[in-house]
Amino acid sequence: MFLARVVGRVWATAKDPSLESRKLLVLQPITPDGRERGRTVVAVDAVGAGAGEVVYWCRGRESSFPFLPGEVTTDATVVGIVDQISLAQS
């Protein structure tokens, strides 16, 4: 799983039926210390995340598992909202 910040939303009327009424978020992946890293991705929201929140998300086929037994065609899903990150001092 990876950390990201929610930076926007995507609207799509014509889409796969399994994505109907799912919220699509634009994520900017970040490092544990909050720096942006890599290209933005679009993820389905499984936890009710909102603008500006730091979240963790998973990639690949496993991203459809939060919606079981439904088969949602997604390869990125927000599966948690981060409260706090503790990093060991190096």
Binding site: L19, V72, T73, A76
Partner: protein, 91 residues
């Protein structure tokens, strides 16, 4: 899922029979702001996307869960046509 723009189509006569009747699109990855990014991909169209439209694409085995792609040899599918990308103001 990644954002992409339809930049072309692929025609193939000899192909896996499970791909018969499926439209193949050439996609260029784009950023959330709409700028071209590195990388092209060929994806199966499941929503009726057209030339120059901005679309949403899934990759990997999730693509087989798209409508009509069950048990097909597909690892990229177009699953949505984008109406709007709304970006929050940077703090």
């Amino acid at each position: 899922m990644l954002l992409a723009r339809v930049v072309g189509t692929v025609v193939a006569t000899r192909k896996d029979p499970r791909l018969d009747g499926k439209k193949l699109l050439v996609l260029r990855h784009i950023s959330a702001e709409g700028a071209d990014e590195a990388g092209y991909v060929v994806a199966v169209d499941t929503v009726g996307a057209g030339f120059r439209e901005r679309v949403l694409t899934v990759a990997g085995s999730s693509a087989r869960m798209a409508q009509g792609c069950r048990d097909c040899p597909v690892d990229a599918a177009v699953v949505g046509i984008i109406d709007q990308v709304e970006l929050d103001d940077k703090p």
